[in-house]
Amino acid sequence: MSVLARVYEERGLVTTGLVLIEEHAQRVKPPRMLSVPFNFGNTLGRPNDPEYQHEILRATFDLLDREEGPALDRFSPDIAPELFSQGSGVVRQDSPVVSDPSQEVDLMRPFYERWVQQNGGRTAVGLSTISQTDFKLVIKFLENFIGNKELDTPIRPEQFSVSHFIRYCVDDLKAYCFESKMYEDPNLSITQLHEWLWAETAVGSLIMRLAERMRSDNDNEVKAVAFGIAR
């Protein structure tokens, strides 16, 4: 972000923006940046809070009044953002409600579809290009991949390598689960959502086993993709 600010400014554009890692901006020296203390993915602080988001944006645009730079201000008040767990950081339940991920996605479907309807058709699902109604096929392939029974699948679009297809399938499954759960229980925090996925769901267990299988693969691309799936 700070690098782009410099590139644009050098070409005659005026820039202002937000940074999440103040220490990086101190090194890159973009012209105008507001440092915010929020987690990655939470740049404007609070979802569905227009007033708070405007407060941050106005502080960002206020930097345009400066006559020289670099101008690197801190947004106040400083707050402690909510952190979330990785899969390896939670204790899985001994007796999950559902142990079959295919059955689980079927049970989640009514909540997911209501989430999408509630959000005007917006969903984070779709990277794999596989319809959520066909997630059973995805899960079957991932199970077979873990067991070395199937290393590719006819449902993979040809523009994606196997490892990237797996990555997008996992991203879709995570998004589907989270969106279902957020409809079912809108008040869950970020921490609670991630703990639920990793500790209580069959899909979370599947993803953990998949990441472990991919980390042990001989192909470097597969190993690299494993890093982005789960830890």
Partner: protein, 159 residues
Amino acid sequence: MPRLEALGETQRKMLLNWPCPDNDDTPWTTMGKPLSESKVAMVTTSGIHLRGDAPFRSLKGGDASYRVIPRDSDPADIIQSHTSIGFDRTTSYRDINITFPVDRLEELVQSGYIGKLSDNYYSYMGAINDVEGLIQNSGPEVATKLLSEGVDVVLLVPT
């Protein structure tokens, strides 16, 4: 991010050792007109794009390409292909404005705080640790497009 001093040692070290250029100076363009008369564009590094666009790729060093997002895009047509276990995406599921404040910018125009908005916004993926592609290619390309659209001010929003 949380202030680095509040993080665990592993994450703090990773972020402190992240390769980024060390510069001695700062380029500077002076505002030529008030913000209330300026055209503003938004550039995000959240790795979002239209559903029909090619996804950003998890390449070594990062994918320095960019995507164009017309300002009037339906949020339902936007998807994020920059994903990572390092950041939470559930907040953006709840509200796209958290990393791509499209509604907030429209409101700032309606209130007269901003003059007008560009027809197109631009998106890159974040966490690029080889920035030469940004500096040499995709950064200048987008700058040229922004200038040709008459943009005065660029708002940069990371994820």
